[in-house]
Symmetry: C2
């Protein structure tokens, strides 16, 4: 490994975050409008280049904060995009991450975002994006659909917890499928992802509903 070997000099790492939320029954993804070339004025995923002197996950959080104002987003590795021509200016390898954030606090987020030229786009209605970001969003959504079945990735959607009818709606929106109320309840409880807080709150009905939360640690299910 030589520091100035031209074979691998001047590469960069592009960190990208596909951040989803659900607002008024619709799944949305957070995009930012680019202020500079290349792809000036096009929408793109929030993200940017990793710096030399920071850990990768720190760089990811820094970029998200710079581009959107959001801090402390929980993100999972999603995919790597390494086509040599994906960026025109210099060789950039893209590393994408997947996150979900609160629907409760969406209005306060909006305040933050306004100053940064960010907006939520319905996932059914995403414009042509910079780079290969349309592809990245598709891959991320696929991953999200899988992760909600065996992880607590939706925890950040409901920082204060959720009722089962509320959670069911979220699953139905993300998976684009309807479920029987009674069977959903049994199923989701049997997956071992959530627990009953023994509190009750109002959701849509007049009757109070039990408040659940995602566990912090999910143990793997054995297929065999």
């Amino acid at each position: 490994m030589e520091k100035n070997n031209p074979l691998y000099k001047n590469q960069g790492i592009h960190l990208l975050a596909a951040i989803f939320t659900i607002e008024k029954g619709v799944a949305k993804v957070l995009l930012v409008k680019r202020k500079c070339e290349p792809y000036k004025n096009m929408w793109s995923l929030p993200g940017g280049a990793l710096y030399n002197d920071e850990d990768l996950l720190d760089g990811l959080q820094r970029e998200i904060k710079e581009k959107t104002g959001l801090t402390n987003i929980e993100l999972d590795l999603c995919n790597v995009y390494g086509n040599k021509n994906r960026s025109k200016i210099m060789r950039m390898v893209g590393i994408s991450f997947l996150g979900v954030i609160s629907s409760n606090k969406i209005d306060s987020y909006k305040e933050t975002l306004k100053t940064s030229n960010c907006a939520w786009f319905e996932i059914e209605d995403i414009p042509d994006l910079a780079y290969d970001h349309n592809l990245i969003i598709n891959d991320s959504l696929e991953k999200l659909k899988k992760k909600i079945l065996n992880s607590n990735i939706l925890k950040s959607l409901f920082p204060q917890g959720f009722t089962l009818p509320e959670l069911q709606k979220a699953y139905e929106i993300i998976l684009n499928k309807k479920f029987d109320r009674r069977n959903f309840r049994r199923k989701i409880l049997s997956l071992g992802l959530i627990y009953d807080t023994l509190k009750e709150v109002n959701f849509e009905g007049k009757k109070k509903a039990k408040l659940y939360k995602f566990k912090d640690k999910i143990e793997d299910k054995n297929v065999f």
Copy 2:
């Protein structure tokens, strides 16, 4: 994005492959002995720096070929290692991949490998490796345990197909668990990963056993 911005100049991408096989009933991983600094003479995962002018997956195959002589290995993205101090010479982000190769052809592989200072190490008996490669192997093994339950990742273990008793042994070795013969059979068939070729071959018994193969395309199972 500026080509000479010192904030993100001179980063590199380190491509790494955790390649597993099963030989004589034992899971093994392929390691190479380093010929140069840093970590000279220590064992490490095969891999190396991505070049500017090649696609990431091409670079991965090139590195594997250079380091081990093996070509055309099927690999899946596994994880990303982006700690700023993981390499001493220059900033390197590690991207790890997971692969499995044939136990049938292991002897011919060994010929190839001999010239390259490679060897198979039992996964229970791995020495201290260069960089963070011990960690990477652990992560890769965890991923392998998950992937054999819902993908055809073991396809390359059995390029000519396999009998069910043979496959069962592979699963038992990787998952470190024993299964009932009849139930394993039903289970693995119900997972939809393999199909009956209608041919028969000899494995360990005197009686011929049906030859199965992994499907090329696995459709996702719905949890809901």
